[in-house]
Amino acid sequence: MYRDHKVLIIIPAYNEEESIVSTTDVLKDFPEFDYIVIDDGSTDKTKYICKSNNIPYISLPVNLGIGGAVQTGYKYAYANDYDIAIQFDGDGQHDANYISNVVDEIIDGNCDFGIGTRFLNEHTSGFKSSRSRRMGIVLLSWLIKVLTKEKITDPTSGFRAANKEIIEMFATHYPIAYPEPESIVALLVKNYKIKEVPVNMFERTGGVSSINAKKAVHYMVVVMLSMVMAKARG
């Protein structure tokens, strides 16, 4: 329990055998939060490492992709009556010390959905992302502004917290392929309040980013199309 709220940390993991133990070890310093690893049909030893280290996990029998994995977490959170759910990457990029900052915004009623953002405050982040990635983020941010008139500086951030109402919504409907920007548009269209919170992010400690240069163009086209469709669906 954290400030009288049941909080679940959802950690999607696809082939994260190198970093999953260090990620969850850090979370052991925060016993007020529950956490669960969603092993997205990994082909490496992620599942067995979770099992032997007594890490709570759900193992998907086949690979569903990041959207399907994260949604499993939201379904679990919904079924177990959690008040707040946080998405937290299994590759060691996210800094657990900032979880409470994001959660506090929801508990204090400042927003329904919190996004941990690495660009808000230069001092909090030693994280440098590539130039092309930044360009992509600016483009997505611009599209959100056009579609919803709201400013979201880091729509691709995977460090996100949802209140109970949004947990229920995501448990039934969550985008499959590249879910972050699309789900932001879906939330804003439904008039949920989103707030960005500055967080620190580390360089990856292991594993491979789900988006490589080759897929980047495909990613941008699919994401932007799905954002427009999310807006059209209303």
Binding site: V62, G68, T72
Partner: protein, 120 residues
Amino acid sequence: MDFILKITLLIATLFLLFTVLKIIKTKTISVRYALMWLVFTLVLMTFTLFPNFVSWIADSLHFKTASNFIFVIVIASLVLMLLSLTILISKQNEKVQILTQEVAILKTKTNEHIKEVKKN
């Protein structure tokens, strides 16, 4: 229409018809999708058996030749069939995803339950 051509087309469509019927009989495809193929085959069959009828429709719709009209009909039906298949695939993907998630959550619950039983 030329006699040889008519015979050739007839044999081809008959072959298609028997293949479809055989697939339906062995239940390789469900009746719902079999119907789609059956209708398609029967339409082709009609075209082969009644070329004058086809020419008449093509003329009244101002197609230059009857074959153009047939091409349009066949391509349009194929596009529609393809579209319905894409819809089907998307629906099935969604179902598979829901099933996968449910199975995984159930497995976790079962494991927790087994652990508790062992403890007691």
